[in-house]
Assembly symmetry: C2
């Protein structure tokens, strides 16, 4: 496939971005992705500013290629986090989980490239008007904290592409060459992948049990838990059922968050398939083996070339 | 694009199938689709055996190309319906909304090509083992009566393709050349389209208001109503809210069905955007103009050729 606009804009070889998964997308994992020619993202959700600085420094130690740092906009200390990101010389910032407007002046002044995650057309239009350089449009099949919009990737991407002039990256439901090529056909200039990186060899912040749960997952293995209070896509097991009951009982967003937060930052401790928290995208059912980051990325790129040619007459 | 296996198997020019929408996919609409080189489907949900016979005869009057007749397997009179379909010389039968096993011996004995709709991998594997010739895999973005699985098209198609040897058709979220090409990239041999045919000029069983509601729809305009009792994808309006309340109150599947059935068979009477029943796929947000059936089909085919070439380096 041709190098897309995203490659040119971010100075990367392959238009694939590591999803900034809280507690999982470490500096080291992000560096592995960047070293393989894609774009690593360092996650900063659930960690302090100083921990974030250490992850960024770790990323720089392992790669000299471009990488992004994600700042979720629900943080109370967004301002300080942005300062740290720039102090550390990071040239690509991604934001998510909030409205970009408030931070536009600051981020635009920093001179970095700015990626922002949205889940609907309105959010995309607002982000583009705010001045982001890239819109990451995330379908409901994505793992983890979810949008109430529940628009699927297939439906969302072409509409976002029609609505904004900046490059659009497709997220949600993409784990192999087929999803990658489909995303480009829908008009995306690249893809963001989370779940498929969860099951790479280099992902060391989840337990072996966790990886096995993902490898065993079927197409129908995930669900959106606590839809009323705090929608989050996880594996359906006993914990999922418990969460559903709490949601039906009318537990608040804060109560659900308080229950999940300690688990979210300790995913390496999940060793019980039935009672553990297994955050994952719906696409887990498509993943059957542990690969290295390099094998995953190069496999997607190489196989999508072959697939492309096989579609011709 | 090359002619796919689906084209060869069914004797059609373009690998596009009209979704069998109850009360909407009439013999005449199906004939328009077949005449444009795709595969029309005559719906038989909500109508009697004799009405179905008239629709099939109407279809034959308007086309001499192949078309399918759909038999939903929740009908109490499946046996008689299958007899009528064959008596009328129909060579392609599609089944949906039920388990195909019970009807395998009869349908295989009829000598027709057999298409069956599924919403998950397990259903696809069972259908293929039962002897269907084509699996139509329908993602959660589809309109109307929905599966509880809520697997999206992007995630479902490659997994179904990996699980069965027969050709797979992608349904749900496809309305233009981008969705068509994306479906082929995911491994489908064709697509089934409902919503985009709802807004064609030839679709005469819904009101002008209904068409306008679809043209005005945004990406987030639809939702799955009555998820507990009887999931159905429709436009979110006051009726949607009412249905949600009834579902929360614990109304049964039968009660919800009794409430919706008279509306389902009178969609041409819906003239109030806020209180009407507007059954549609999530992809309505991508549709902005009324086209003829021929314009829609030829547009998808022609534009997907251009799009395909634009993806190359």
């Amino acid at each position: 496939m041709k190098r897309t606009k995203l490659c040119e804009l971010l100075g990367i070889e392959h238009p694939i971005i590591l999803g900034a998964m809280g507690g999982i997308s470490t500096g080291k994992l992000a560096a592995s992705v960047s070293n393989a020619g894609a774009l690593g993202s360092v996650a900063t959700a659930f960690i302090s500013i100083e921990e974030a600085r250490r992850e960024i420094q770790e990323c720089k130690r392992f790669t000299n290629k471009p990488f992004a740092v994600n700042c979720p906009l629900f943080r109370p200390d967004v301002n300080e986090m942005l300062d740290i990101i720039i102090e550390e010389g990071v040239s690509i910032i991604s934001t998510s989980a909030g409205s970009p407007d408030r931070w536009a002046e600051k981020i635009k002044g920093l001179g970095a490239k700015w990626l922002h995650v949205v889940s609907n057309v309105r959010g995309a239009v607002r982000a583009a008007a705010t001045g982001v350089d890239v819109v990451i449009a995330e379908g409901t099949e994505s793992g983890g904290i979810a949008s109430r919009d529940e628009v699927t990737t297939m439906v969302l991407i072409p509409q976002v592409v029609d609505a904004v002039k900046v490059p659009v990256v497709a997220a949600g439901g993409i784990a192999d060459a087929r999803g990658f090529l489909a995303a480009l056909a829908l008009g995306a200039q690249g893809v963001q992948i989370g779940t498929a990186f969860l099951t790479t060899k280099e992902c060391d912040r989840i337990s072996d049990t966790y990886k096995q749960v993902l490898l065993n997952a079927s197409d129908t293995a995930t669900g959106l838990a606590t839809r009323k209070a705090y929608p989050v896509r996880i594996i359906k097991n006993k914990l999922f059922d418990t969460l559903q009951h709490l949601d039906e009982e009318g537990k608040s967003r804060e109560e659900i968050q308080m229950m999940l937060a300690p688990k979210m930052i300790n995913l390496s401790q999940e060793n019980d398939p039935e009672n553990g928290l297994y955050v994952t995208g719906q696409v887990a059912g498509l993943i059957h083996e542990i690969k290295t980051v390099k094998e995953l990325i190069e496999g997607i790129v190489t196989e999508s070339e072959k697939l492309y040619h096989s579609l011709a007459g």
